[in-house]
Symmetry: C2
Subunit: 220 residues, 2 copies
Amino acid sequence: MPVTVLLVDDEPLVRAGLRAVLDAQPDIEVVGEAADGAAVIPLVRSLRPDVVAMDVRMPLLDGIEATRAVLRSVDEPPKILVVTTFENDEYVYEALRAGADGFLLKRARPAEIVHAVRLVAEGESLLFPASVRQLAAEHGENGGNPAARAALERAQLTEREAEVLRLMTRGLSNAEIAARLVVGTETVKSHVSAILAKLGARDRTQAVIAAYESGFVAPG
Amino acid sequence: MPVTVLLVDDEPLVRAGLRAVLDAQPDIEVVGEAADGAAVIPLVRSLRPDVVAMDVRMPLLDGIEATRAVLRSVDEPPKILVVTTFENDEYVYEALRAGADGFLLKRARPAEIVHAVRLVAEGESLLFPASVRQLAAEHGENGGNPAARAALERAQLTEREAEVLRLMTRGLSNAEIAARLVVGTETVKSHVSAILAKLGARDRTQAVIAAYESGFVAPG
DNA sequence: GATCGTCTCCCCCGCGCGGGGGAGGTCCGC
DNA sequence: GCGGACCTCCCCCGCGCGGGGGAGACGATC
């Protein structure tokens, strides 16, 4: 059975584009559309889609509130893929915190869009903006310092947070990081929470994965 | 102040080699040697080294028991770097479980040996055999299937464990992995524990790091 | 001076994680 | 037949982790 998708976006053109891209796939089926967040819940209830592709910036009810509402009021909520125009959209991180499962740029190539839908449908998370990974690939072949710094800027990590994330990618615990940075464990926890929120990660493991996938750290 | 190291190996030649390599570094100082595990504890007590480079296979008291003994009987135990000849040494994993901090192949290049000592001295863990990473680099440029499979064999992961590790590198929780594999969460926990032991990882984050560093999974 | 972001530290709280055991099942090879 | 690996599931238990709040200090910016 195909992956069923509900499109939620105030721009008809965007909906049409997503529908064209997704319906071209044999294993994906767009089962409905909505123009604002307020219409999402009844549609989710009646259509029971696997994935909701949700715009963040919408009239009446934005993507963040709509995400919360869906997760709160539906028993087996669909996966929620947040769609946005800007890679540096602060709303996106709020949406991810609200429980969204993934992140998608409107200007992503069709193959990437399809990939994103399949991934979240399978239950996996799209932690980092796809643009960050792309950016890391563009800057030099092996994601060195400039790429890492650029990725950092995209994720809007502060210097301290970046340092903490680096130590996290070395496998250190909060207490070990605290000892290394000569601060309290509570401080480290604050930084870690901020990192998780900004990266849309659920736990430190997902944050480390995001760091590798984005080129923030390179293996080997 | 330099990193102080105690060498423990039954072969004088190996001790001499390690001493030559390490003493050539301005920031590393070999402060003592022992020929078997039984002599380690008093030496650790009197010399208080930062790092103990410990052979696994030794007469009287092997590296595993010696590691346990040191960690058990010394207040501020040194970091323990397990030294071995074979990358596929089952004793090594036991030693890591016993509390050793790192892993070193005797045939590693001098730079790698120095690096390993510095790393464990800093409190970081050398999770995976360095040989696995090297092996991943040799097999094709991007660590594809053959490299991953080879790395798997080195770590002696079973098929099921490899599958679980793969899902761990996707950021899934134990419950999510259980749902995906249609087994109980207790089963997943068993597999995860086995993976952590074989990889010498303390938690799932370190296991995921090891997976990336070894080429078991490739970013991007 | 007021505001903002950053870094620092504190509280309470629930839960997932990992360690320590054990145990039954299948399949394979000796 | 009998070990031995492997997969599966179970128990108890402690603790680290992460969420949700709040708050003070500092420097930069307006």
